[in-house]
Assembly symmetry: C2
Homo-oligomer: 343 residues x 2
DNA sequence: TTGAAAGCGCTAACAT
DNA sequence: ATGTTAGCGCTTTCAA
């Protein structure tokens, strides 16, 4: 049960002062190479490494980023978490995870906890936030970025895909594919992603002189999405949609399964399905889902960049609201305009 | 840009000493309710909360658990991470994430970093570890638990499903299902999960006077698994397997897709497929995969329990090697013995 | 019960 | 270039 090795012990063994040891481990400090050598030798003999927490205390920077996340069940998030964590690691930061339920009280509680850890920044993935809390963080000087959510709170940075544009693209694609009865299965309406996707979808439809033929709520959940699909597609052929935009891939899989395995409908022959996210299973042959890609890499890059610039120059950094455009990935789950081929 | 509120400021406002403030926020310390009230009032007016890092320094306990993880692409891990984080949060701990590549050097580096954060414990998910590093942590008094991996290092705690027993069950199930040519698609052989699953599978087969008809390497990766499936099933009907155990679900999906969509084979009529893990897509109707369930909840519970007992009583706590049994979840991807029904 | 004081392991002036 | 000193914000003796 060896004890913790401190810089003082290293100093004694190397025959230098404790601050000399500190300097050796501080990039850009002034130490002679002779001292440095002695110290490094002593340090490695003792197995010494600086205590990050102690350093954090004196510098007032923990190099910890708090990540608040509500659920990992949508496969877009694991992907994101992995990329985010990697990107942050490269900058010398690490991610401290806080799971929370999507209720105001929970979120507020969790935010307090996060702040207790003196994090240098916070990423909220798919979690809404009270403006109270927002200003509390601003006071504490801790930058927040909303990931995959945007909110109309002043001075809050958010990074999303361009959900409005995405909704528009899908509407266009479906109309060009000569669909007659275009439906929508919505996500949870508390989410800006849901609202923006639907708004873009409807707007584009309207511009083309069309409108939504049917709409059900899927709430971003498998079971609810299944129920929505059953309800929407139980009618006779002429009375049911021949195309449906499902607000995310996670629900789209559930919808496709109901269509094919419960209702005996063919996709895309009887009904076209389009999703949103482009998570891994979307490209699996069983689903082969046409979907809007959320560019996780780009979104993570923006997030890290925003965080870093706020940390490095709190005064100059301006809040930003980034909406990243992505391609519509055309696969086989939806009929396409004549000239196109499916992937 | 409000500054950090310290216990000293609270003390001044409440007209008490700084240590009185500390006591109020220390469960089980002796303070009169009069003092406590004054302090709490001042604290909430100022928005004071104790600095966890400072507390960590003096107590030598950070209430941070380091999680080392190699990839989140197997859907078993997001699930695990969510549950683990929640369970730990309930105990007042939080998870600091370290992503790493599966190479010895990387892992060692990451472990050093982790130790720098003075974590109270470490969970390694699907990551192997040198015995060097193991003893380094033991020296530092930091308990480690290997999650979903076991290693023959003395004194190391590991929590897995009972992979050997799982392999056996699958062999039995396949033989009872009257399969003639039973094949295996292996995972990465560096993983104990792969080795144990295969060992149990082979042992049971042998006891029944049978053996593996064909074997390919899938390496736990989608593309490699696809290639394995193509190679294994390109032969004529009599020369190819009529059943295959794929070492995890992630690969099993890829295999099923190749079987159905590339090779035009029916599952389970032409070939039965069984996986391992029971991740969410396994129960989706498109796959409806028969698979061994890994009981994530139980595994997480054991992990947290092991961690807590080592933290609370480092002396008494014994290393444990837990292998949690799980059920074979029978769905539609494999032919079953006559009397059974599929789910 | 309460305050004063020491100290957790480190960094950052300040002097030399 | 290097040592000395003063904290970072807190918990925990030790006296009172």
């Amino acid at each position: 049960m060896a004890e913790k090795v401190t810089s003082l012990q290293v100093a004694e063994r190397a025959g230098v002062s404790q601050s000399a040891v500190s300097r050796v481990f501080t990039p850009g400090a002034s130490v002679s190479s002779k001292t440095a050598d002695k110290v490094r030798k002593a340090a490695s003999e003792l197995g010494y490494r600086p205590n990050v927490l102690a350093r954090a205390m004196v510098k007032g920077k923990s190099r910890i980023i708090g990540l608040v996340v509500a659920y990992l069940e949508n496969f877009f998030y694991p992907e994101t978490l992995e990329k985010l964590s990697n990107a942050l690691q490269e900058q010398g930061y690490h991610v401290l995870v806080f799971m929370t339920k999507q209720t105001a009280q929970n979120i507020d509680d969790v935010m307090e906890e996060i702040l207790d850890y003196q994090v240098d920044g916070i990423v909220m993935a798919s979690v809404a936030m009270s403006s109270d809390i927002a200003s509390r963080c601003q006071q504490a000087g801790v930058p927040i970025v909303l990931f995959n959510r945007s909110q109309d709170i002043d001075g809050i940075t958010s990074v999303t895909s361009d959900n409005y544009a995405g909704g528009r693209k899908i509407a266009q694609f479906l109309v060009e594919g000569e669909h007659e009865r275009i439906a929508y299965i919505a996500g949870w309406d508390g989410a800006s992603t849901q609202r923006d996707r639907e708004a873009g979808f409807r707007a584009a439809l309207q511009e083309m002189g069309r409108e939504i033929f049917a709409r059900e709520e899927g709430n971003f959940q498998t079971e609810t999405a299944r129920a929505a699909a059953r309800k929407m597609f139980s009618a006779a052929a002429e009375a049911r949609p021949d195309a449906v935009f499902v607000a995310n891939d996670h629900m789209a899989f559930a919808v496709m399964d109901v269509l094919r395995h419960e209702l005996g409908l063919r996709v895309p022959e009887d009904v076209s399905v389009v999703g949103y996210d482009d998570v891994p299973p979307s490209s699996w042959p069983s689903y082969n889902l046409t979907t809007m890609r959320q560019r996780a890499n780009a979104m993570v890059e923006e997030t890290v960049d925003a965080l870093m610039s706020h940390i490095q120059s709190p005064e100059e950094a301006r809040p930003r609201r980034v909406a990243i455009d992505g391609p519509l990935v055309v696969r086989g789950s939806a009929r396409v305009p004549n000239e196109q081929k499916k992937a």
